[in-house]
Symmetry: C2
Subunit: 347 residues, 2 copies
Amino acid sequence: MTLTQLRAFVAVARLGSVKAAALSLRVSEPAVSGAVAALRRELGDPLFVRAAGGIALTPGGRRLAAGAAEIVGLAEETRRRVREAGTETSYLRVAATEPSAEQIVPPLLESFVRRHPEVESSTLAVPARVLTELLLDRRADVAIGPAPAAAPGGGSGDGDGDGSAGDQDPAPEAVEHLPFLKFQLVVVAAPRHAGAGLERAGDGPLRLPLSRLPREHWLLGPGQLDPATPGGAFLARHGVGEASVSIFPSTTAALNAVAAGDGLSLTLLHLVRDELRHGTLTVLDIPGTPVNGVLRASALRGDRRSPAASALCRFVTTPAALRSLLSRSTGVPGAHFHPTVHVSLWS
Amino acid sequence: MTLTQLRAFVAVARLGSVKAAALSLRVSEPAVSGAVAALRRELGDPLFVRAAGGIALTPGGRRLAAGAAEIVGLAEETRRRVREAGTETSYLRVAATEPSAEQIVPPLLESFVRRHPEVESSTLAVPARVLTELLLDRRADVAIGPAPAAAPGGGSGDGDGDGSAGDQDPAPEAVEHLPFLKFQLVVVAAPRHAGAGLERAGDGPLRLPLSRLPREHWLLGPGQLDPATPGGAFLARHGVGEASVSIFPSTTAALNAVAAGDGLSLTLLHLVRDELRHGTLTVLDIPGTPVNGVLRASALRGDRRSPAASALCRFVTTPAALRSLLSRSTGVPGAHFHPTVHVSLWS
DNA sequence: CGGCGACTGAAGGGAATGGTTAAGACGAGG
DNA sequence: CCTCGTCTTAACCATTCCCTTCAGTCGCCG
């Protein structure tokens, strides 16, 4: 599988004929035909068959077309970016778990780039367990997310008993973790959710026994089920699985639906202060909650770290950063905005 | 630039030494060294220099490491996916503009996959002008977004006067457009925003002259400034630019901030019915609004289209689809959820 | 200074890749 | 059936890749 071969296939898939592809690539038809034949051989898939008015991709061909276009595009893009790296305004790629990417990172970065206007930043949302991997692969400069949930019962912590040759990973000590915010996760619902037969102790909060958790309707944002996070671990531990969960496009959307009375959610306590005060949401009294945890920023150690990453690591523990996290989120100035990118993980 | 070379460089960047990389790839050190040397030559960048306790990547090296890891991972992933394409449950990739990806596509897909449980789907959020491109590259099966805003003043419409050899694109008629929903965009604010000195005509809605639009504070979701969409075009036409805009992680988050009284936003009228009824939001009376537009689904013509894409195209115009779009969004069942992926465009 | 570990360079060879031209196979359409 | 356009195959060649072994060079540390 070669970049040239992929380019040829993309052209064929796009233009619908070997001849047109050859013309557009300025090579002969057999060159294109041969490249495709090589791919066919290697992948064991006909990729496309001739059909009326052009070609029809097989399912495998469709997948290859998508992947190949991506790969070829990325290769071009990477070449270009490396070439013009000399002129770089320093660049910062932040990886975070989905809820953090949505609710924590934007205010943090907003106040950070206000102090460092020369820094361009972008955010990647990923499952918690690949945060470290992204750092090691240099696909991200800083990772932000909760410290892993402590193992619930027994078990020997994180000793992984790996006695093999270990030609794989560099020492995990290459990554440095910097806790910067303790948080509390609480279960919230609309106050009128009480109608569902919850027990109320006098004037106190609504009570919900643990056994009922799996039978409730949970409204969550993407990534909140991730068992590698304290919140996801809590839900998994009490039997809340995909069957009783609806996923919304964003954590905020899920909370809105909760406020509308559609179900329960799990959220950072300090993010819903206003809603609690206004009575649009209420905290449920559930054994084991609030779930305590700590957010941390991670980066490679020392000189393997880009300057912008060092600056952000210094920044997260400052009072200014804390202030930005606790005040209501204000959005990011239009000029600096880059949308969060969800990265699919190829382990 | 070869996949093998990139693999070698990734290993070096990750493990911090040529020797370790060679060991892990099970080749000799000169093999790795040579691969890196080839990249250095081609890209004109030292990529890394030796430093205390290992290596230090140059800025270009950092960019290459990120891109190379991505490319290599994608290549593996693609190979795997093509190989197991035989067993595919049909797969549907939907591309949409960001607001649609967040607010329109989820309910649509939710009711679609309920009728076609065998279909796996994923969503890509992209700028409006690349929707067609994604279809042609087979990187998406169906594109959903607003029909382009009509050119405001004179101009000859979409005639592009391209008289060159044109060995580039297949005929644009390869893509078929299917309008399925008329929409109205309105400007909303919190009712108490009236305090900002807006003129109220008797009991009627709040009035806002066009000249004040650029001086207001706009709270938008990602992609709402895209001038290739009717909403973005409206804002651009009246001088609303990045300076007066704050971007939130999601359209929903922006609307929440509007309800909190922080500024103005632009939204689909039918999505805020509840908020208007409850009085948490109010529509402003602004000349030129509501902005009318039509959402459409696009796909390749005929036999170049995957079965799942055909099914979705048939589905969007059914009453069931319309119902799902007009009812309040309910989230997606956990088992079917794949997060929206934001695609960066390499034109 | 000597030794040592780590990286780079220089041949060298086998196997691809990537390209060409020329000729055959195949389907659509008269 | 014949023709035409299109794709594939075949034969062939230059180049590059990719890996090897062997011989340095460089820098660190005792």
